[in-house]
């Protein structure tokens, strides 16, 4: 097992290298040079010395592989992702600032999705073709079909109209720039349910269907009958055998959860005015804020790779049938 993990981590290095090249190419793809757009946008405030300094710093006159080397060595050696032109601040500051809240929302949403959909999926499979199963199925399909931003608008209206809650953002106005206190944390929690439900609905609906299908496959297998014939009670039987096997595919789904932590749900976050990385990526792409966009693309790619690794390791640990060769 340890060798398997070590080997997989070793494979990460060339993969990350290739990913960083692609991410850098994506930065360079839009036509025009970022200094040109910087100067055209803010002519008066930037003098020639500053332009020359920037040109020097990023080595813009040099060939593309030299530029790449400067960018990647800055990231690897100093954690320097370059500066955002639009914000006029280091990219790393911008990302770190928002990453915390993004993680909180995403992880709570993930927990919400799993906690809600797994029991419902199990119920739906065990009671297949009953009224309860049909009701759950209909609700699931509605949840899958309604676009997130629409749900966001409706729930925001309901929260504002009937619960008098300040909607949009994750904090009440008085807490937005306040330091972390118990009050601020509680304020966050009282605002968190709205984005969590909105962001989690589609995932919950999808996962209910996946769980139901996985479990239906397992329930009819002979090892379930064999365990029943041993005298196991129905509930223990259900959780010890078929549910245990049916959960394995969900673990592999973790791979795409990680990148979604950073890039996912941009539109919903914009509608809800959430201070997460989704809207940041969206805006940076619109504004051709290339180092910010490029760094976010790189981050998303790295998280995809790491997510795949984590889910592979978890699966290898959970499912003995996976050969570690």
């Amino acid at each position: 097992m340890i060798w398997y993990i070590a080997r997989r981590i070793l494979y990460l290095i060339p993969t990350l290298l290739i990913v960083s090249v692609i991410a850098f190419l994506v930065i360079q793809l839009p036509p025009g040079d970022f200094l040109a757009s910087l100067i055209s946008k803010a002519e008066e405030t930037i003098d020639q010395a500053q332009v020359d300094a920037l040109r020097e710093r990023y080595g813009l006159d040099e060939p593309i592989y030299v530029q790449y080397w400067k960018w990647i060595s800055g990231i690897v050696a100093r954690g320097d992702f370059g500066d955002s032109f639009e914000w006029n601040r280091p990219v790393s500051d911008l990302i770190w600032e928002r990453l915390g809240l993004t993680m909180v929302i995403s992880l709570v949403t993930l927990a919400f999705v799993w906690v809600v959909s797994i029991p419902i999926g199990i119920y739906s499979a065990v009671k297949k073709y009953t009224i309860g199963d049909y009701i759950v199925t209909v609700i699931g399909f509605i949840g899958l079909a309604v676009p997130n931003f629409l749900l966001a608008l409706v729930l925001m209206y309901v929260a504002f109209r009937y619960f008098g809650q300040s909607v949009g953002g994750l904090f009440s106005p008085e807490y937005i720039d306040a330091p972390w206190t118990l009050g601020r944390a509680l304020d966050l929690l009282s605002h968190l349910w709205l984005p969590v439900i909105i962001l989690g609905t589609a995932g919950t609906a999808a996962l209910i269907r996946v769980m139901r299908a996985n479990l239906l496959d397992e329930l009819s297998k002979l090892y379930v009958d064999a365990a029943r014939a041993r005298g196991l009670s129905e509930l223990r039987l259900l959780f010890k055998y078929p549910v245990r096997v049916a959960l394995n595919p969900l673990v592999s789904a973790l791979a795409w959860v990680f990148p979604a932590l950073v890039s996912g749900s941009a539109i919903t976050s914009i509608v809800l005015n959430l201070q997460t990385t989704g809207p940041l990526l969206y805006r940076s792409l619109q504004a051709q804020d290339m180092y910010l966009a490029g760094s976010l693309v790189l981050l998303v790619s790295v998280l995809t790779i790491v997510g795949t690794l984590v889910s592979d390791i978890l699966l290898a640990w959970l499912d003995p049938r996976i050969q570690l060769q």
Binding site: S220, K221, L222, Y223, D225, A226, A227, R228, A229, R230, G231, L232, S233, E234, K240, Y241, R244, V245, N248, L318, D319, P320, R321
Partner: protein, 358 residues
């Protein structure tokens, strides 16, 4: 130890297990009778789809939905001497669970899929032990090792931590047998346990089951479509057709004096090494009817060579005793009909159809 050998352990009386589907009712088991004494082996034979497996599952009450027992009685004599009716029990209740694995165990057709893919062999044996016997985990583990040893799995203490996919088909079936024997049941139901195995392994497993049976004195209800297996291990035989017991009796009576046309046809369809060259093997005409299209009267009449017009297709034959505990469901043997029908008074010899070309 030896309890009364003649004592009846299991008695199934006119059990009907039907499946209530949207398309209609499938009468998978439609009136089966059998009885099994302690330490004996009863073989249930019949073509695929004749309800053998559903009958076996009905005894343990593990018939899958939408099937359920609609009538009949399954009397089982427990260790404590009490006789209970399994057909009356709640299939999800505590009572039937204390029977499963403890008094009656079952092994299945495919050892590949009847073991959990993500649990070790040992954990599944220990589960069976810990469910029914008041022992500690370490004792259960010791017992599991000796069980694996008993069923002939080499290096038992290592194989305890093996997963099912790490074993061959034969070893998996041995592991299943070890689980089934974990609590020394009085009855082992074996649902075609050798069908998915190659011939050499089949013979080994059959030998293993008979050896274990000889040592423990348990009874075996063996479901198979292989008449060769029946001849080898059976004391008693029940022949099933479309959910019915069409003929039952001791193994000699069934093989040497088969009465029902279906039994005779089955026996004639066995290839024989001493048959003449280029002789065509007898084959039963037609195939098992679709469950929704069950023939009226005797269900076998459309395929029967002895079909009596206006009788077999209208009269549902009862069980007629033809000597000892040999009984048959066929109008040819109905006491009053025998007097009326000249052709049926002298049942045709079994060899009549040998070599017949269809």
């Amino acid at each position: 130890m030896a309890p009364n050998v003649e004592e009846t352990l299991l008695e199934v009386k006119d059990v009907k297990t039907h499946f209530f589907t949207d398309e209609g009712v499938v009468k998978a088991v439609d009136g089966v009778n059998l009885s099994l004494r302690r330490g004996q082996t009863l073989c249930v034979v019949g073509e695929s789809g004749c309800g053998k497996s559903v009958m076996a599952r009905s005894i343990l009450r593990i018939v899958p939905a939408p099937g359920r027992i609609v009538s009949g009685e399954i009397s089982f004599r427990q260790r404590n001497g009490e006789t209970i009716d399994l057909a009356q029990m709640n299939p999800r209740g505590r009572d039937i669970r204390s029977i499963r694995g403890r008094e009656i165990s079952m092994i299945f057709q495919e050892p590949m899929s009847s073991l959990s893919p993500v649990h070790t062999i040992g954990s599944q044996i220990m589960e069976a032990i810990l469910l029914h016997l008041p022992v500690s985990r370490s004792e259960a583990r010791k017992r599991a090792v000796s069980l694996l040893d008993l069923v002939g799995i080499p290096r038992a203490s290592e194989q305890l931590d093996a997963y099912s996919f790490e074993l061959s088909g034969g070893m998996r079936q041995r592991a299943m047998i070890a689980i089934a024997l974990a609590c020394e049941p009085q009855l082992l139901i074996a649902d075609e346990p050798t069908t998915a195995l190659d011939v050499t392994t089949q013979a080994n497993i059959l030998d293993l089951i008979s050896d274990l049976q000889a040592d423990s004195g348990m009874a075996v209800l063996f479901i198979t479509h292989d008449l060769g297996v029946v001849a080898e291990i059976a004391d008693e035989v029940v022949v099933m057709y479309l959910g019915r017991d069409v003929e039952s009796g001791d193994v000699d009576a069934i093989f040497h004096e088969p009465k029902h046309p279906y039994t005779r046809a089955l026996l004639q369809s066995i290839p024989r090494y001493d048959s003449r060259d280029r002789e065509r093997l007898y084959s039963l005409k037609g195939s098992v009817p679709h469950p929704f299209n069950r023939p009226g009267g005797c269900p076998f009449h459309p395929r029967c060579d002895e079909f009596i017009a206006d009788q077999c297709n209208t009269i549902d034959p009862g069980r007629y005793t033809v000597g000892g505990d040999h009984s048959v469901r066929c109008l040819l043997y109905e006491p009053s009909a025998a007097a009326q029908n000249v052709g049926a008074s002298e049942p045709p010899a079994p060899a009549q159809n040998v070599g017949a070309t269809r």
